[in-house]
Structure formats: structure tokens, C-alpha cells
Amino acid sequence: MWKPFLYQHIVGGIIFIIGYLLYFSKTDKTLIRAQGRSIVFYPLVAFVFYFLINLFWMLWATGE
């Protein structure tokens, strides 16, 4: 029952994190600093939002 949820957030999460790692390891540090924290948070907000939505949806659907 929970396998798709785990797969989505573990495998999807790894791909998601690779996107962050590429940004921090390859982009010019002065540019990262100048662009500020807000753009770093944009994708993170999306991840947390969908993780919580799916989690509560699973709990509701399974009645747990």
C-alpha cells in the first residue's frame, strides 16, 4: 500500500536532490550568494508541499 509513496519520495527525492547538488557544486558561488535564499527555497517548498499532501492523503484513504 505504501510502496508507491516511498518510491515516489525516495527515488524522486534523490533525483530532486541531484538538481540541488548540481546547482551548489557547479554554479559560481558569487552568483549563488547574490541570487539569495529565495530561489533555493522555491523547489524545496514544492517538495515539502507534495510530501505532506501525499502523506495526509494516504492516511485519509487508508483510514490510518
Binding site: P4, F5, L22, T27, D28, T30, F47, W57, T62
Partner: protein, 609 residues
């Protein structure tokens, strides 16, 4: 598929015809904002994030979406929404890498990026693949809508398709990207409103939310499909094909979407737009398009619809059942809106590739911009025509959903692999890119004839359906392997500043033409005046205002009408040429005319770079 069974009333037909005319006139109005190819393809690079976000959603939602997701919703329940709720996975790649790369490199098309990043051969191959991808999408969208409208209008498929193509072709011919953006904004509103109207009426018809949720089984209530069965709707299949391959293709390879983001006034606006799309608009759109199927399932459970109701017809069946005369027409108009807003984007994209990657490269490369604008407008008409001609071909497939899946699964993985590695791996070589497109495509084609080769990647999905959805994982792995192996045996390309994530900062400098000014500042309001300097594209600003904006001479500056709801339609952008002692921003006449700004009125001024 083509059985004609007339639904709806006269009032419904009037609503649909009125909608057709209104959208054609509305779109054509924006022809006045299109005077150059930059306007036609990129809307003059001036729009605000919310406008692009809304129009993007209308592009995502094709007419096939209502049919496809309602059918999936009927068969598999709420998990039919998964395709709209998993875009977050590739969001960092888009926001941090691809968006700034294409924006700052001033790339006009994805094939053009391929030539600059790799070489001419890769560009040619990409041009062919992307044109197939786009034209195929036009055909599929036209077919789906034609099939749906045939049911209610009682006319044969082809005349319906031709009418829709002519309407889209006309407003696109005149208005280009600006017409696409504004008609898509309107159509996004219509299709979401109609979707929620259907949902509300359906719940009312059922007798409340308790009857609705009570009519759904446990499996139908789950947010995600079952792990590896059934083969035509398994979680892993959708994860690799939809969340990874198709979503990446949509944001990275779809020329129309790329052009939409290039029409924004800045990269930061693009980041806001895509985040808003993923977090807010996609869930809303998902409910709007899939609820017909969920309602249908609950109606079967409550005895309102017979158990043998056809899943493929569920959207139209539910809409006809619950909607009153006039409202049914409005819902069908939304279906049309979904088609037009997708097709216009695709046709505009075909036009851009036709001009940038075929006409300019192989036919005429030294003509004035007016000439290319005319060519672009005519390619839009020709692309509409080709889309219509493709409809009978696609109609020969038994299932639109399967046809669409096979098409995208076959051509997207090699392109997606090359785009991602090209943008994020400096070492990735032109020869490797060519090998990935060529050899990678051969692997994908081979797997279509010999699906058993996909078994090691199947995650236990039954081979019954030929691994249609697991092919994406197989293809991405094989294309990735070809790309990596070929890279280590071939020579990397030098001089690719601004075209890979490692050198975005340099790309910004190339974009601006000098060192970038990244000092944070907020937009300010001030009065607009006409510059006395007899120069073109001249911008002056009061010294005190410049201090507030932390802007220097030579920096990029954006001036827009103070009314936010224009979304940047009335705006101009350029470089700050001089400072003065006034409290105003002064523009040359050409910029004021181009931006349709009013002298002596208050405007909003912003530093871009």
C-alpha cells in the same frame, strides 16, 4: 470512435459558437502588439510571472487531458491525478539550470541551442525530432477534440477539426506569442471554471460529498496508483514515463513552453512562474480535468449510471447528465479552450523552429526582420494545415491514450538525455550528443519490436502491454549509457560559456554585454517623461531614483504601466543611458510607443541586471 450521437441543446451550440467567435476576435486583437519576430515568438520579453503561469497551465491542459484523465479517473480513481502532481521532482533542474541558460544565452530555439552547445549536425537532428514531436501533438489534440465534439454537434470528425484549426490559425497568424499568452490566460480561466462547475454540479447530483466519497473504493481513493499493476496504469510506469520523461520533455524540450518562459521580463519572474504552476495551478487544473471520471465512478456505485458505462466517454456522459442547457455548452467550450490553448502554443513553436532552424539556416539568412515575420505568420497557417492532415492518421489508432504514450515514449528519451547532459555536464561532447540521438533512438525503436529487452527494468510490471510505460526507464538508461561512453572517447567542445550550468554567470554577462549588477533592489514608482535626446532606445533616470534602485549607467532597466493587471503588456526594457536631476524616468519616443506607455503618468521602474 466516430459514432455520432447528438447531445446538448440549441443553447449549448450557441454558447460554443459564441465562444469560438469571441476567442478568435480576442486573440486577433493582440496583432497590434506584434511588429517584430521577437514579438511574434517571445512577446517582446516583457511579461509578468502570473500571466505566464496561468497561460502555461492552459498549455499543459490539452483537450485530450479532459478525456484522458477522466477516463483514468473512472478506471483508477483519484490516483489519476498523479501525472499533474509530480512535477516537483525536476523543478531544481529547471529553476537553477535550464531556465537561466536558455534565457541568458538568448537562444531562439532548442535546435539553435544544440548548434551552439554541440554542432550543426546535432541541430539538424534535433530540428527533425522536435518538429515530429510538435506536429504529432497538434494532430493528437485536434483528433481528441474532434472526437468529443462529434458526439455533441453531430457533424463528421474532419469538418469539426478544420473549424478549430482555422480559428487557432487566424488569431495566431495575427497575434503571435502575445495572442497565445492572452488567449491562454482567458482559456485557463474558462477551463478551470468549467471543470469546477462540473464538479460542483456532479456532487449536487450525487447528493453530497458523502455519496461521492462513499462511492469510491479504497483503491479509488489512493493518491498514487498501485505499484506495478495493472500494466496500463502502474505507479512505476507512470513515475518513469510521466514524472520523469514526459515532465522533463514538457519543461525542457517543448519549444512552445521554452518560448513562453522567454517572453518573461526576467529569469526571476520565470522561477516564480514555474513554482506557482507546480504548487498551486497544477493541483487546481488536476481537479478540473479529472473530476468527470471520479464523479462517473461514484455515480455507477450509487446506481445513477449503469455499470457498463464506457470509460472513454465518461467525461461527456457526466457533463451531459449533470449540466443544465447552456452549461453543457460552456463545459464543451472549455474542452475546446483546452485544445486551442495547447495547439496555439505548439503552432507558434513550429513557426519559430521553421523560421530559426529551417528558413534562416537553409533558405534565406540575410533578409530584414519584417520578411521573417511574414514567413513566421505563414508557417503558422501551414502548421495548422499539417495538423489537420495528421488527424486521419492518428484516428487509425484504437486508443488515443496509448497512441500518445507510444509517440512520446519513442522520441523523448534521447532528446531529454541530450538536453539534460548538455546543460549540466560540461564534458558532454558533440559526438556523444549525436550518438545519443542516433544510437539511443535505435535502442528505443528496437524495444518497440522486441519489448522483452525492457524486462530488467520492468519492476515486475507484466509484459502484457509490451512495457509501454516502462520503456521510458529503459530508454533513459540506454541513452544515458550511450552518452557517457561516447563522451569518454571523444573530444569536448570549448567556448560554451553561458550554455552549461558551470558558466551561467558568464552567460549573464554575455546577455547584458557587461558586468552584471546583482545588488538587490525593489521596484519604484515615478513619473514618465519624454526624453529630449534625439536617440533611439534612450533611457534616462533621476539620480535619486537610480540610488534607490541601486542601478548604474549601462544596467538593464524595465519600465511598465503601474497597473499590474496588464501583466507587462504595456512595458519597455533597455539599458540605462544617462542620469539627470529630475524625479522622473525619461524614455525616447520609440520606446514609449513600443511599450504603449503614457507620458506624465506614473510607471513602475525596476532594475533587471
Amino acid at each position: 470512435m466516430n459514432n455520432v450521437t447528438q447531445l446538448g441543446t440549441q443553447l449549448d451550440y450557441i454558447v460554443i459558437i459564441f465562444y469560438f467567435l469571441a476567442i478568435m476576435l480576442f486573440g486577433s486583437y493582440f496583432g497590434r502588439f506584434t511588429t517584430t519576430t521577437k514579438d511574434f515568438f517571445f512577446g517582446g520579453q516583457r511579461f509578468s510571472w502570473w500571466l505566464i503561469a496561468a497561460s502555461c497551465v492552459a498549455t499543459v491542459v490539452g483537450s485530450y487531458s479532459f478525456i484522458k484523465y477522466s477516463t483514468a479517473g473512472f478506471n483508477f480513481g483519484l490516483s489519476s491525478s498523479t501525472g499533474y502532481l509530480n512535477d516537483w521532482i525536476i523543478l531544481p533542474f529547471f529553476i537553477f539550470g535550464w531556465l537561466p541558460i536558455i534565457y541568458y544565452s538568448r537562444t531562439g530555439s532548442i535546435p539553435e541551442y544544440f548548434e551552439r552547445r554541440f554542432n550543426k549536425n546535432v541541430r539538424l537532428m534535433a530540428t527533425i525530432i522536435i518538429l515530429l514531436y510538435l506536429i504529432g501533438y497538434v494532430g493528437i489534440n485536434l483528433l481528441t477534440l474532434g472526437v468529443a465534439l462529434t458526439k455533441i454537434l453531430g457533424v463528421p470528425l474532419m469538418p469539426t477539426v478544420i473549424i478549430i484549426a482555422v480559428i487557432s490559425g487566424i488569431y495566431l497568424h495575427f497575434g503571435g506569442q502575445t495572442a497565445v499568452i492572452f488567449t491562454d490566460l482567458l482559456q485557463a480561466f474558462i477551463l478551470v471554471l468549467a471543470g469546477f462547475l462540473l464538479f460542483g454540479l456532479g456532487i449536487y447530483h450525487l447528493g453530497g460529498f458523502n455519496q461521492f466519497f462513499g462511492g469510491l473504493s479504497l483503491i479509488h481513493k489512493m493518491p498514487l496508483p498501485q505499484y506495478n499493476s495493472p500494466h496500463q496504469f502502474s505507479f512505476v510506469g507512470l513515475f518513469w514515463q510521466d514524472a520523469i520523461a514526459n515532465t522533463t520533455a514538457f519543461y525542457f524540450m517543448n519549444q512552445g513552453v521554452m518560448m513562453r518562459f522567454l517572453s518573461l521580463k526576467s529569469v526571476h519572474e520565470g522561477r516564480k512562474a514555474v513554482t506557482f504552476v507546480v504548487i498551486v495551478l497544477m493541483p487546481i487544473a488536476m481537479i478540473a480535468i479529472a473530476n468527470g471520471g471520479w464523479l462517473g465512478r461514484a455515480m455507477v456505485a450509487n446506481g445513477i449510471l449503469p455499470p457498463d458505462t464506457s470509460p472513454n466517454d465518461i467525461f461527456v456522459t457526466v457533463a451531459n447528465l449533470v449540466a443544465k442547457p447552456g452549461i453543457f455548452g460552456f463545459i464543451m467550450a472549455a474542452l475546446t479552450a483546452a485544445l486551442m490553448s495547447t495547439v496555439d502554443t505548439l503552432i507558434n513553436a513550429i513557426s519559430a523552429i521553421g523560421v530559426n532552424d529551417i528558413y534562416k539556416v537553409y533558405i534565406k539568412n540575410d533578409a530584414p526582420d519584417k520578411h521573417y515575420l511574414k514567413v513566421a505568420q505563414w508557417i503558422a497557417i501551414i502548421a495548422s494545415l499539417i495538423g489537420v492532415l495528421l488527424v486521419p492518421i492518428f484516428n487509425s489508432f484504437n486508443s488515443i491514450y496509448v497512441a500518445h504514450a507510444m509517440f512520446t515514449a519513442a522520441i523523448t528519451p534521447p532528446m531529454v538525455t541530450v538536453i539534460i547532459l548538455g546543460a549540466f555536464w560540461k564534458r558532454f561532447t558533440p559526438t556523444a550528443a549525436l550518438a545519443t540521438l542516433g544510437v539511443g533512438s535505435l535502442f528505443v525503436l528496437y524495444s518497440l519490436f522486441e519489448p522483452s529487452i525492457i524486462t530488467p527494468f520492468s519492476h515486475g510490471v507484466s509484459p502484457e502491454g509490451g512495457f509501454k510505460y516502462m520503456r521510458a526507464l529503459f530508454s533513459l538508461v540506454t541513452c544515458g549509457a550511450v552518452a557517457i561512453i561516447a563522451t569518454y572517447f571523444t573530444q569536448e567542445k570549448k567556448d560554451i560559456d553561458g550554455l552549461v550550468i558551470d558558466s551561467i554567470h558568464k552567460g549573464m554577462e554575455i546577455f547584458k554585454g557587461s558586468k552584471v549588477n546583482l545588488a538587490p533592489s525593489k521596484p519604484i514608482k515615478c513619473k514618465l517623461a519624454l526624453s529630449k535626446e534625439n536617440k533611439e532606445a534612450h533611457i534616462e533616470l533621476g539620480t535619486a531614483l537610480a540610488d534607490k534602485l541601486k542601478i548604474n549607467i549601462g544596467d538593464m532597466i524595465y519600465i511598465r504601466d503601474k497597473r499590474w493587471w496588464y501583466g507587462g503588456l504595456k512595458s519597455a526594457q533597455g539599458k540605462l543611458n544617462a542620469l539627470n536631476n529630475t524625479e522622473e524616468v525619461l524614455l525616447s519616443k520609440d520606446l514609449i510607443d513600443y511599450g504603449r506607455l503614457n507620458i506624465n503618468e506614473e510607471v513602475v521602474v525596476e532594475k533587471i541586471l
